[in-house]
């Protein structure tokens, strides 16, 4: 998809993926870069990854959506194809004020991809439709 993260974030994530494959952990210098780019969101996102709060839901069609169980116990839906999260911080800080690139949930999704620690859940095509639609109903 043509909608991409800023190049510096993409590069960092792909370097991290390579490092994780090599040594099965994120080297400290990358943790510092994360902290520099994302501030406190970086720690919170890593915490979400540690708690295995990220679930990749996929259906036979191949469509996928991520759900992240936030620290408050609420579940948020993330579309990794286009950088979207249903949390209020994404709506406010990312979309409205443009003072952050990502929210902690989306960052956790990308980190869990790098570290291959996503929970996986397979559902039917119909169930995936309901999950996507439910997001809309919750907001309404």
């Amino acid at each position: 998809m043509a909608v991409v993260l800023p190049a510096v974030v993409e590069e960092l994530l792909s370097e991290m993926a390579a490092a994780v494959q090599e040594s099965a952990r994120i080297p400290d210098e990358y943790l510092l870069s994360l902290k520099f780019l994302f501030g406190s969101s970086a720690t919170q996102a890593l915490d979400l990854v540690d708690r295995q709060s990220i679930t990749l839901i996929s259906s036979p069609s191949g469509r996928r959506v991520y759900q992240v169980l936030g620290s408050s116990g609420k579940t948020y839906t993330c579309l990794a194809s286009c950088h979207y999260c249903s949390c209020p911080a994404f709506a406010f800080s990312v979309l409205r004020k443009s003072d952050s690139i990502l929210c902690k949930h989306l960052l956790a999704v990308y980190l869990s991809q790098v570290m291959r620690t996503c929970q996986q859940l397979s559902v039917s095509d119909k169930q995936l439709t309901d999950i996507l639609l439910m997001e809309k109903k919750q907001e309404a």
């Binding site: 998809m1 043509a2 909608v3 259906s59 069609s61 191949g62 469509r63 959506v65 579309l79 194809s81 286009c82 979207y84 249903s86 709506a91 979309l95 409205r96 443009s98 095509d125 119909k126 995936l128 439709t129 996507l132 639609l133 997001e135 809309k136 907001e139 309404a140």
Partner: protein, 250 residues
């Protein structure tokens, strides 16, 4: 998607050099213009263009059926191409959500181009910014899913038309900022003072990234046919639009 529109606009010109490159769709494109600025005609021209590339079908979403098929740019309406354009008419924002959320359940080959006309009508019904953001994200996610179905090396393009007002209110500005975030490529259609009896527009394509901005001069003849020419003065005074054609595209 920006690349499909560029091909439509470039092919419409006499100076089209025929350099057929790979039919890449390009980034998602937002088509902006005031009422009656030819957005639907250009969307339809893009649909015909994408339907002729030997690619999958085209999915054209619009709130109501087109009054008449817009005339192309000199090409006849090839029935084989028309057959590949699938129109769907979600009557409400709710139905549009339903369609996008269940796009992966639809049978048949995945579209190579997803078009939506009249986004402003859907946004007006549900003006909350977060709703708008989810709707736009779902459009992108649906196109991404179609791309995934098409397989490696092939992408489903996305092109969305949004009507702008002469004087935007704050809600429109908010929506526009949101859309520009998700649509790196934009094409603005601006009415321009044409010759007598002509209905002319300036089409300005910003392909996103570092790509060059290109401009065209679009007119509609009295029989409805769309005529496209390169914008006369690429580098000079943009208001002296009636000069001789330079013909060159950057």
């Amino acid at each position: 998607m920006a690349e499909t529109l560029r091909r439509v606009l470039t092919r419409g010109c006499a100076v089209w050099s025929g350099e057929e490159n790979t039919p890449a769709a390009g980034p998602p494109l937002l088509l902006l213009g005031t009422p009656g600025s030819g957005k639907t005609a250009l969307l339809f021209a893009a649909a015909l263009e994408a339907a002729g590339e030997g690619q999958g079908p085209v999915l054209f979403l619009t709130r109501r059926p087109l009054q008449s098929l817009p005339r192309g740019t000199g090409t006849t309406l090839d029935p084989m191409r028309l057959q590949k354009i699938r129109f769907q008419y979600p009557p409400s924002t709710r139905e549009l959500f339903r369609l996008l959320c269940s796009a992966h359940e639809a049978p048949g080959p995945a579209p190579s181009l997803l078009l939506l006309d009249g986004l402003e009508e859907y946004l007006a019904e549900d003006p909350e910014p977060q709703e708008a953001a989810y709707l736009i994200a779902l459009l992108l996610d649906t196109a991404a899913h179609f791309s995934h179905q098409l397989g490696p090396g092939r992408d489903c393009g996305l092109m969305v038309a949004l009507q702008t007002q002469e004087e935007a209110d704050s809600g429109d500005v908010l929506h526009l900022a949101l859309l520009q975030r998700y649509f790196p490529a934009q094409c603005w259609l601006q009415p321009d003072a044409p010759g007598p009896g002509e209905h002319g527009l300036r089409a300005c394509l910003e392909p996103g990234g570092l790509g060059p901005r290109t401009e065209w001069w679009v007119t509609f003849r009295s029989d409805g046919e769309m005529m496209i020419a390169p914008w006369p003065t690429q580098a000079g005074d943009p208001s002296s639009g009636k000069g001789s054609s330079s013909g060159g595209q950057p």
